[in-house]
């Protein structure tokens, strides 16, 4: 399979980010938690290539460890939202009737329950960990995939080619793979790439209302929250995590826009 240059660029970008997450800590002069209260908010310089944060910690070291934690968890939360969301959406569109009504009601119920409550409940089981936050997020976020999938799948399922495939004896798995997914892929790819960014930002929002900040671990979203007060003084400091997140989203978008359905169009 030949890859579109855009896709290659995206993959290269993601690879670079992964590399940064892995080797970054070695590049950094200090451990991510080491502070220097007398050298805060320093501008980037040779010793501190990305400057220091509000507690004089090395931004390079913190970004690298945040990249590892956040991007991994963001992908996890996207996957754990997209997979059940899409599957349920497909199921609802496929079966219609009470299956659709039931899953729809569940989705409504999830939306009606304050998502924050879910996240809080989950984080009560493992206080201080980040994964409950992300998993809690995906408990809410799957609805997005569910509804969008259902809406698109309904139209596709009404088409002749799906009817023909059924007549030819193909099962749901095949129809999903060959008929539905190619149609859904660009949309899902977009939602997922941006969803990874949304997950990180959602965590930033939680930090903003005072949830989830468990020092000293570095997490992209929470870094943005805690650096906000220093944005006016040292804008470059808060720019780093934003830049990193932006690059990650860009990489994902580029990789996914090369999806098969579009490449051949």
């Amino acid at each position: 399979m030949t890859w579109h240059p855009r896709r290659k660029a995206g993959a290269a970008l993601l690879l670079m980010l992964a590399l940064f997450a892995i080797v970054g800590p070695w590049l950094a002069p200090r451990a991510p938690f080491e502070q220097n209260l007398y050298g805060i908010l320093q501008v980037p310089q040779l010793a501190e290539p990305l400057g220091t944060d509000h507690l004089g910690r090395s931004m390079l070291a913190r970004l690298a460890s945040a990249a590892r934690l956040s991007l991994g968890l963001a992908l996890l939360s996207v996957a754990s939202a997209a997979v059940p969301g899409t599957l349920l959406g497909l199921l609802a569109a496929w079966r219609g009737g009470w299956t659709e009504r039931l899953t729809g009601a569940v989705a409504d119920a999830v939306l009606a329950l304050p998502g924050l409550l879910l996240v809080l409940l989950l984080s009560a089981f493992a206080p201080g960990d980040y994964w409950p936050l992300y998993v809690g997020l995906s408990l809410v976020l799957w609805v997005e995939y569910y509804r969008v999938t259902r809406a698109t799948a309904r139209v596709v399922l009404a088409s002749h080619h799906v009817e023909a495939a059924r007549l030819l004896g193909f099962g749901p798995g095949y129809i999903v793979r060959r008929h539905l997914l190619p149609e859904l892929a660009p949309l899902l790819a977009t939602l997922m790439s941006f969803g990874a960014g949304a997950a990180v930002l959602a965590l930033a929002a939680m930090g903003f209302v005072g949830l989830g900040a468990q020092p000293p671990a570095a997490e992209l979203g929470l870094m943005m929250t805690e650096l906000l007060p220093y944005a006016a003084e040292a804008p470059w400091i808060i720019a780093w995590p934003i830049l990193l997140l932006g690059l990650a989203i860009l990489g994902l978008v580029l990789v996914s826009t090369g999806a098969p359905a579009e490449a051949a169009a």
Partner: protein, 289 residues
């Protein structure tokens, strides 16, 4: 469910009520006695349902005001903000996304891609601060916060809407790209419609199917997702209130809010479903069979 959460409810409520300096064990015990928090959970739930049947949502454990009145006040603000943000996001995402989708891989497509990546990577509070710093402080165009001044809806709605438009723009673009590649769109053009007319009559409606489904979900998330914006811009909305209620373990308030929001969402979703079916007859026809 609230009782599963860590921390003692009476203490939490006392903290919410009196401010943390004043929370003492005595205050907490007074709260416990006043609200009957010692009761087993099912008794309080039954009591709540009983009140509910009489259309009574109770009074907030923290503020002591009737829940219904508080929700009415806050929900109105939140809905105003959510709708304004949705309008902003549509106003940005739909034209830009559609225009980008008309020429996939064109210059505008690339530009909007960068734009939406940037908007998606910027946390709303940073965006909000930047907007206020530029629009309110530097240019003095809009008021910065609070609901008191006229036009104070602008900054929060803009912030929220911009953030939302990031993904919506791409969804719109993908949908439109699919439409422009379709034979009926080509036929609409070869039969003589101008690009604009073809877009308006045959492009928009077809591209709207996935977009409406997506925006429908967004509207729902908006109501809760506004927390940050409400906190940042001192907007007296329900997201902000709900967060406080959850932190303060204000059970009547949470129950009331969840109930009202649940009803609201069911209504919204039904509306979105109807809209989807209204836009696309194929869905209706298949169901009719």
């Amino acid at each position: 469910m609230m009782r599963l959460l860590p921390g003692d409810m009476a203490f939490r409520i006392a903290a919410g009520r009196y401010g943390y300096d004043m929370v003492t064990a005595q205050a907490a015990e007074a709260v416990r006695a006043e609200l009957g928090l010692g009761l087993p959970w099912f008794e309080s739930l039954v009591a709540w349902w009983g009140h509910l049947l009489r259309m009574d949502l109770g009074v907030s454990a923290v503020t002591g005001a009737p829940v219904a009145a508080e929700i009415a006040h806050q929900l109105g603000h939140t809905l105003a903000l959510a709708l304004a943000a949705l309008a902003v996001s549509c106003a940005i995402a739909v034209p830009l996304g559609f225009a980008a989708g008309l020429r996939p891989r064109g210059r505008l497509d690339r530009l909007t891609l960068w734009l939406s990546v940037l908007l998606r990577a910027l946390p709303p509070f940073v965006l909000g601060i930047v907007l206020v710093a530029v629009l309110a402080v530097q240019l003095g165009l809009i008021p910065a916060g609070g609901d008191a001044a006229h036009g104070s809806l602008i900054a929060p709605a803009l912030t929220l809407g911009l953030g939302l438009s990031a993904t919506a723009m791409r969804v719109a673009r993908d949908a439109m790209a699919a439409v422009t590649a379709s034979p009926y769109f080509l036929f609409a053009r070869t039969k003589g419609l101008s690009d604009r007319a073809a877009l308006l009559r045959h492009g928009v409606r077809n591209a709207a199917v996935p977009l409406v489904a997506y925006l429908g979900v967004q509207l729902v998330f908006l109501v809760e997702g506004v927390v940050v914006i409400e906190t940042l811009f001192a907007w007296p909305g329900i997201g902000h209130a709900l967060v406080h209620a959850i932190f303060g373990r204000d059970v009547p308030m949470i129950q009331g809010t969840a109930l009202v929001m649940g009803l609201l969402f069911v209504a919204l979703n039904t509306l979105v479903d109807l809209a989807c079916a209204g836009i696309d007859p194929r869905v209706r026809i298949r169901r009719g069979r």
